[in-house]
């Protein structure tokens, strides 16, 4: 019976960041010699849980017990001593130190790392090179080998397979799975349901910071996991659904406003093609890190694509700078509102900023015209500006409205919205989506990424689903309910098709 008493027992863990609750009450029980999956939709609290377990964050409440003894993990060094090691999405290697120096920094024996590396099929890494000169997959495996060399009781793998080719993924599971025999456990965080069902013994599912179930992910259990991740669909959303405008597909002219052909950037954005017509809202559905960030960066002129074409109104373009994209009528509303706005300046100045080049006469800003256009934009968006001169004093929802208002005042053809409703209350969310529909009705094109899949059918006409840097599915929004999207975003549809 003692074999089944948990190695790691987490109960009632909670953590909040200001008004945002990241973890409400998370429970996790890992048995010795188990590969345990931790699953959940975006923002369910997986990363926060991992960070608490590895001492990066301190929890507000709840307990962590190792081998039945309650431990307070105050720092990564302490987590290591307690036998908890993690390999993060971003390898924790110091770029300006050599591989060997990195190992010495953590007090890891080089021979042990070399042994694990050769088991992982990477025996040709030169320990004398600076880690900044190693390619990402090697870094990831090096980080893994270093963690394995410390022989931890519990190894946490956060999305380690996301950037690995398939053959290496199998190898990683092979090597990691061998730890079972020694009674050591692995916690595996992944978006890839298929991997989880093949390699993991049990899966804990988080939703909204709470543990909602523990499943044995045998073949066919995927549906149950997806159901758990989704939870009961919020009544609020269903109500909004009823008010939704009928599906349209552009203004009927059939011309494309924005066309993307075989776009490729870095390792994350592989090969993406799609079109957006005038008057159309195209949704982008994807889990974290499937290339959507790179896609929006390329379209907004923040980064240059490695290959492929962006056509605006049928003409090929090349954006060297966001200025070029704005000039071509493509404007970005980023998730991080503070990225777009000048926090210390007034609402008026923020809205007027992209306008300035059009308002100047003889180099001076025509204040009257500025005031008029800003006022129109504020009224249109119902921005609550009572006595709040500085943008940083506005609520998140109102800040996001300001970052849309500035483009309204400046004028645009295509609005790129990257997760515009992140951390915004439901009322403002609806206002933003209503506005998006209005803009489309007035002839604008909108490309909308949101991490909340349930919101996609509310605002979009069509949805493209990205997985592994490719478009794996294109759906009309009326059939794109959350479970369909979640399945597709996990690459399940792609596998069925391939």
């Amino acid at each position: 019976m003692s074999e089944l008493s948990p190695l790691l027992e987490v109960s009632g863990l909670s953590k909040r960041f200001g008004p945002v609750i990241a973890l409400r009450s998370a429970d996790l029980s890992v048995r010795p010699g188990e590969v345990h999956a931790l699953m959940g939709a975006n923002g369910a609290g997986k990363s926060t849980l991992v960070k608490v377990l590895t001492g990066v964050l301190r929890p507000d409440g709840g307990t962590v017990a190792l081998r039945g003894k309650i431990r307070v993990i105050a720092s990564p060094a302490e987590a290591r001593r307690a036998g908890l090691m993690s390999v993060y999405q971003d390898p924790a290697l110091i770029p300006d130190l050599t591989v060997l120096q990195n190992l010495r920094l953590t007090g890891t024996r080089a021979e042990a790392v070399r042994r694990w590396l050769s088991e992982l099929g990477m025996s040709d890494i030169d320990f004398g090179v600076l880690t900044r000169d190693l390619p990402p997959p090697s870094l990831r495996l090096l980080d893994l080998a270093r963690a394995l060399a410390a022989e931890p009781d519990v190894l946490l793998l956060d999305e380690i397979t996301a950037a690995l080719p398939a053959d290496l993924t199998t190898r990683v599971f092979d090597v990691v799975g061998r730890r079972r025999e020694k009674g050591r456990s692995v916690i595996f965080i992944s978006h890839r349901l298929a991997e989880v069902s093949v390699f993991c013994d049990r899966a804990t599912v988080l939703r909204d910071g709470e543990t909602v179930g523990v499943v044995e992910p045998a073949r066919g259990a995927e549906a149950k996991i997806v159901d758990l991740m989704l939870g009961p669909v919020a009544a609020d959303v269903a109500q909004a659904e009823a008010q939704r405008a009928p599906i349209r597909s552009g203004d009927g002219s059939g011309k494309s406003r924005l066309e993307v052909r075989n776009l490729q950037a870095g390792s994350m954005l592989q090969d993406v093609s799609f079109t957006v017509r005038p008057g159309e809202v195209v949704g982008v559905a994807a889990l974290e890190g499937q290339g959507q960030g790179e896609l929006f960066d390329c379209l907004a002129g923040v980064r240059k694509p490695d290959a492929g074409q962006i056509l605006v109104e049928g003409r090929a373009t090349s954006f060297r700078h966001p200025y070029d994209a704005i000039h071509a009528g493509l404007v970005l509303v980023p998730a991080d509102r503070m990225q777009a706005l000048l926090r210390q300046r007034s609402v008026r100045e923020n809205i007027a900023l992209p306008l300035v080049s059009r308002l100047t006469r003889w180099g001076l800003i025509n204040l009257r015209s500025e005031r008029r256009r800003v006022k129109q934009a504020i009224e249109r968006l119902q921005i609550d500006t009572r006595a709040q001169a500085q943008v940083r004093r506005l609520s998140g929802g109102n800040q996001q409205k300001v970052s849309i208002a500035r483009w309204l005042a400046a004028g645009f053809q295509t609005l790129l919205c990257f997760d515009p409703t992140r951390g915004i209350d439901i009322g403002t969310k609806r206002q933003i989506y209503v506005l998006v529909r209005e803009l489309a009705a007035a002839g604008s094109s909108i490309l909308l990424f949101t991490s909340e899949l349930a919101e996609i059918p509310l605002a979009c006409d069509r949805v493209i689903v990205l997985f592994g840097g490719r478009v794996v599915q294109v759906l009309p929004a009326n059939v794109a309910d959350e479970s369909t999207l979640l399945r597709a975003a996990h690459g399940l549809a792609a596998e069925a098709a391939g």
Binding site: P76, P91, A92, I94, D96, L97, L105, T106, V129, L134
Partner: protein, 328 residues
């Protein structure tokens, strides 16, 4: 191996590639010495000695700055701390004998260590950006120096001054140079070989990854400022040795000159990159430039202009070289 295995005509060995900047700075120093001898054929042992005397405080200021900048910070108190320790030593050593002077020097070092630790703890605990904290503290230490000694004065026993001013071994090897090498090596070599030294580079290179690697980031940051305080105190003592007096405003020159020196010496202001050898040579180059101007009969006030141009040029050439290697 991933780097530079493409069809390059010549791939320099890794040592040369990694320490290219340092090698370049020493080549530049050699070139400027050759240039100096060319324009001033009588350049000899005496000139070498005055070069070493001039470069000693600057090199120590650079050493103080290097430690903090490698850890990803900046220390604007280096100059004022040198002034405090300079006037403190000069005031206490006046009319003392050599043995007492050595004892005072040790006490001054301990004080520098404490002052550095104080700076560091404010930076770490207040969470105010280091540039703001050390700027504010630079006024505090500057004021303290004036409180200790209102105007230049004090003194030090001749034997103590000779620790830097004499040429004991050979007329061509000034004591100042030996002192610099011994002092910097005594602190830097053990540190560089230790895990602490790695941690210093680690927090400057990627603080998040360092934290995740189990490095105690606040502690290492504090330690960097403490070491900076030690080097600044040695710099203050060096000023006492080389000038024979204490001057409350002596330090003001060394804060920004120290930053310029380490930049020329190949230390990245972004942290995590560089070493101690480069800045040492850079201190000699920057001391040599005004001397050369005097030999050329040019107004030495142009020295600052030329120093500025040299720094920008060297950093630009270095940056271009790095870019080319990356694209190769």
């Amino acid at each position: 191996m991933v780097l530079g295995r493409v069809a390059l005509p010549f791939v320099p060995p890794r040592f040369v590639r990694r320490h290219g900047w340092t090698i370049g700075v020493y080549a530049l120093l050699l070139a400027s010495l050759i240039f100096t001898v060319a324009i001033h054929p009588t350049y000899g042992a005496f000139d070498i000695k005055s070069l070493a005397l001039g470069a000693l405080p600057l090199a120590l200021a650079a050493a103080a700055q290097t430690v903090v900048v490698l850890s990803g910070g900046i220390d604007l108190t280096v100059g004022p701390l040198m002034a405090v320790t300079n006037v403190l030593a000069a005031r206490a050593m006046l009319h003392s004998n050599f043995r007492d002077a050595l004892l005072i020097a040790v006490l001054v070092l301990i004080l520098g260590c404490a002052a550095g630790a104080f700076n560091g703890s404010i930076v770490v605990f207040s969470r105010v950006p280091d540039i703001v904290v050390t700027l504010a503290m630079s006024f505090v230490w500057g004021g303290v120096a004036l409180l200790i000694l209102e105007k230049p004065g004090g003194g030090a026993p001749l034997d103590f001054q000779n620790l830097a001013q004499e040429t004991t071994l050979s007329p061509w090897v000034p004591n100042a140079l030996i002192l610099l090498i011994v002092v910097v090596a005594a602190v830097w070599i053990p540190l560089r070989g230790s895990r602490l030294g790695l941690a210093l580079y680690a927090i400057g290179s990627d603080r998040t990854a360092a934290h995740a690697s189990g490095v105690n980031v606040p502690l290492v940051r504090m330690l960097a400022y403490t070491l900076s305080g030690v080097f600044a105190a040695i710099g203050g003592l060096a000023l006492t040795m080389t000038t024979g007096i204490g001057s409350p405003l002596s330090g003001s020159f060394y804060t920004l000159s120290g930053v310029a020196t380490i930049v020329l010496g190949g230390v990245s202001l972004a942290g995590g990159k560089g070493g101690m050898l480069g800045p040492m040579a850079a201190a000699f180059i920057l001391t040599l430039i005004p001397a050369d101007l005097i030999f050329l009969g040019i107004d030495p006030n142009y020295g600052q202009v030329i120093q500025g141009i040299v720094i920008v040029l060297v950093v630009m050439v270095g940056g271009l070289a790095t870019l080319r290697r990356k694209s190769a």
